[in-house]
Symmetry: C2
């Protein structure tokens, strides 16, 4: 009996068309995620787990046969962390998508890993509650994947990253054992914080099969949105930093650099800007003088007062700020930001980078990006979650794989971010794409310690090998 | 040369009265913390480290000689975690108390571990900033200790526990190597979250020598405080849960049970209550019918509106609520809560317990505490951080050590909390005093995994042996 047939037998997958799938299209899909990277190699099979039992059985089998296992959720990652490696079993938990419990009184939910962010939010919104983690992919990303990458998003400066929203986990270890971590309580300090350790571990320590997540009260009142022009991106970055320094706390603060804005304008057409502060602003697809644009949204009971307080701060930094007249106008501004990825994707394949720097160094980072772009002759449209200093420089290319020239420019970006006290990934994770820079950021001692930690959980090294760690 | 003399030589401690101290009074002080527990045995010496170099040198020396090291900060712990064990070196970092950097723009501070919470707050308050972790001991507790225990406090339901306030650490490992974890940025997902792993590790994985902590903008406006009577503690607990369930978010919500209130009344005298909702309320030192009291404080720009919204919610649960007329009246209410520990300490030695349960189970937990108290013939004055379900049942006893009868009652408390989906320690940590219950809460697999994790950091087992883990 082949290995795959043995796995089928172990899983009780009698028709061979259900849990263990080996057709070319399925294997092909598992070679990619949303990073643009496509692996040359192919996995052995994709297991579509429907239960904790399936996950345990698969891992027990993989341990016994020393077969690599690549945990995978919705496949929306941006660093290659869930891409099937050669000869591996891709353990896909996207079908484990039940909301197991909503406890409105204790403001928590218990979910399977395949539940999409938006699905949970749709379920809890009628109760006045909200799951705060909001990666830009929230309509299609799953909570298990959010946790595995400690996903960020637009709201983190005010509402924290995914880690702050995870109270406890159920995790299947490499050998198939199931453990539970954390608490259903707000506080709890018994033993080491394994919940936080699994959060952001990118499938290298265990497979998350259940999460107890924290819900928050929906903010009161309508959000209030500002659109602000700046003459250049460094000034815009300084303006954004000034909003924070003024102790104001926008829910959303998104910066669009002139190159990115030109792409959006070209993609959406001028009509999309009617009624927004961007109507009539200069800037064509290649016009580096197109203005930099900062979008600021306040929420909660003091939204109006905070927005009013932000106006003079932004003006003092050289910004031309305009308050959205109403919620619909605010939505139109957000739609411009949301159109960014489609705008650049229209131009070819896209590598979305993800450096993060201290807020006060954002302006310098933008200058460094522009300089690197000029030197390499590359357009690097960049947007930033400006409240937390997280920048997404984008590279557009053609062909099956990221060209070396792009990686060379990205390498310089990473080093520039590290030199500014930042990190090479704010929210996407290391995965395959950034593993070669990890040791440089962590330092040798910390890197070695992390490798040793992994061995405690996965002595055979079958969990997502080749991800996060380069060696 | 004796071991101590060798250590002195290694540390360059020429006068023998500086860094390495062995006098009886110093060794005696290291036998205790604020838990009431006093160890029978005595440490070899106390090293008062003044620098990272001192910490590294001490750990290198201890590794070479296989001597246990007990990291210690301000000594305000409540679980015996920093108590010197027999033959150990107590590594006291309380003299490392410099604020190394305040970065107002990026809302962070870099501190040595011995900086007291209140000292940091005094330094950053003029900048409109605030370090949120607020254990009740914040006037005397140090930030290193906050982090080592992942300390909680009164404000956690709204502002999070210490973990949420720690961006990065510098840690000396058992063998004397120095590593840095985390980031200066809000986001950062390179590798495993060692910052979170060290947070709450109670000195068993390394010695924290520097912390980069997150500051927050000071909340706008004056806080608004409510005092609420309830006929009994279960109703009060249900009232508190209803405030949260109404999606209101008080900064402080403290519940004082009738037994605790009787102690406070007896200690402060009736005059202390003049002008508060407690003026004239019944209740003597042993009067179990003294009313239960809930103190609710809202902060931020919507404080007044939230307080108004809370009034009918509390009334609907049977509470008689009264709004403090002004900030001074609010402070008088808080002073009553703050007098609790002195009130019980006036009656003898005190063991402060620390269970945490889901908010919705708080009423049941209070009922269980009262029942356990009755059955054992013990007064168990209890206060709770009611916003997060964290209860502090207190036991009063005489003599040098906690009587078995008290531990028997405490054991029943822990089991009751676990049965309600809670934990045996919400914020104090495991230390010496709760290690015998840890495995029961974690389960065997998770317990074994945690032991294995410790071995990665501390293969010789010299870091705080006997703490957290019973074996």
């Amino acid at each position: 009996m082949s290995t795959i047939d043995q796995l089928r037998a172990a899983l009780g997958d009698t028709d061979g068309n259900g849990t263990v799938v080996t057709d070319a299209a399925t294997l092909d899909a598992a070679r990619a995620d949303r990073s643009g990277f496509v692996a040359a190699e192919t996995a052995l099979a994709v297991v579509f787990a429907a239960s904790v039992y399936d996950v345990q059985t698969t891992l027990r089998f993989a341990s016994q046969h020393a077969i690599p296992v690549v945990p995978r959720g919705a496949g929306t990652g941006l660093a290659g962390g869930a891409i099937g490696s050669a000869g591996s079993i891709v353990l896909d938990v996207s079908r484990m998508d039940r909301i197991l419990e909503i406890d409105a009184e204790n403001e928590l939910a218990v979910v399977e890993p395949g539940v999409l962010n938006d699905a949970l939010n749709a379920a809890v919104q009628p109760l006045g509650l909200w799951f705060a983690p909001d990666p830009a992919s929230k309509a299609i990303s799953s909570i298990g994947g959010n946790i595995a990458t400690n996903a960020g998003g637009l709201l983190c400066a005010k509402y924290g990253v995914t880690r702050e929203a995870v109270l406890g986990l159920a995790v299947v270890l490499a050998d198939g054992r199931l453990i539970r971590t954390g608490h259903r309580t707000v506080k709890g300090v018994t033993g080491y914080d394994l919940t936080a350790l699994f959060t952001g571990s990118e499938g290298t320590l265990g497979v998350i099969v259940e999460a107890t997540v924290r819900l928050r009260p929906l903010p009161d009142g309508a959000p209030v949105t500002l659109g602000v022009f700046f003459a250049d991106v460094a000034t815009a970055a300084a303006g954004a930093a000034s909003v924070t320094a003024a102790r104001l706390r926008p829910a959303v603060m998104e910066l669009i650099d002139p190159v990115a804005l030109a792409f959006i304008r070209s993609h959406l057409g001028a009509d999309a800007f009617i009624g927004t502060p961007l109507e009539g602003a200069t800037g064509g697809a290649t016009d580096a003088a197109a203005p930099a644009f900062l979008l600021v949204q306040f929420d909660g009971p003091a939204a109006g007062a905070e927005a009013q307080a932000a106006l003079p701060v932004l003006a003092g930094c050289g910004g031309a700020a305009q308050l959205a007249a109403d919620a619909a106008a605010g939505e139109r501004l957000l739609a411009i930001r949301r159109a960014f990825h489609a705008s650049v994707a229209a131009g070819g394949e896209v590598l979305i980078e993800d450096v993060s720097v201290p807020r006060s160094s954002m302006a310098e980072m933008f200058v460094a990006i522009a300089e690197i772009g000029r030197r390499h002759g590359l357009a690097i449209p960049t947007v930033a979650h400006a409240g937390d200093g997280n920048l997404h420089p984008n590279f557009i290319y053609t062909g099956d794989s990221v060209p070396d020239a792009v990686w060379q420019a990205a390498d310089e970006l990473f080093r520039a971010a590290l030199a500014l006290g930042g990190t090479l990934t704010g929210e996407h994770g290391v995965g395959l794409l950034k593993r070669r820079w990890l040791a440089e950021e962590l330092g040798d001692d910390s890197y070695a310690l992390q490798r040793d930690l992994k061995r405690v959980f996965d002595p055979q090294g079958i969990l997502n090998p080749g991800k996060v760690f380069a060696d």
